[in-house]
Symmetry: C2
Subunit: 116 residues, 2 copies
């Protein structure tokens, strides 16, 4: 799952990177947006919406599920996938904290001017 050197970073950095990796493919971004638009849906619907094979979509779903960002509930023959909004909210807060920290100081001017 990870390269050897990953362990050498802080848990916080690893966690942020892990979630970022989950969003690092447009298909997974699209899946989350699609699940957000419909409150309830089944896996088959998702594959039909994306320009990818059902198998590939299933894999992306498993990746999101592995991080618990989405959940799937078996409902007879179909599977009902939905967003884990609670976790997404926590992740949003993590990202916000990171970006606020990063944008706190104005290290660069508008063009290319470093304040070095």
């Amino acid at each position: 799952m990870t390269y050897a050197k990953t362990a050498a970073f802080t848990q916080e950095q690893q966690q942020l990177a892990r979630v970022a990796k989950a969003l690092a493919h447009p298909a997974r971004v699209a899946i989350i947006q699609f699940l957000a638009s419909k409150q309830t849906c089944i896996s088959g619907d998702i594959a039909a919406e994306l320009p990818l094979s059902r198998t590939t979509v299933s894999q992306h779903l498993q990746e999101l599920k592995a991080l618990d960002l989405i959940r799937g509930e078996i409902d007879g023959l179909t599977v009902c996938y939905c967003l884990n909004t609670e976790l997404l909210h926590r992740v949003h807060q993590q990202f916000t904290a990171f970006f606020l920290e990063a944008t706190a100081g104005s290290a660069c001017g508008p063009d290319d001017a470093c304040a070095c």
Copy 2:
């Protein structure tokens, strides 16, 4: 840089995925955090802080620079890297819009209960 099927998604989805990919490695998260802590620094300092070789750190720096998230200015013998806070701010807004959209509806209960 990207797989063939990437082009089939919206520009918005691709842009979000691209930035997410830049944050998808703890070393790059650490680099941004380090640059945020010091207002000014040189590449050598960064490599000294991370559990990676100078060569590898340089590569991560180039990746962040390719997205313009950081900027490097040659200052004699050393290179002064600093954050592009303006772009980081815009990226933060993009992520916030995405997460707000995703957390708008309460699709899942606290445990495992889908509202299917």
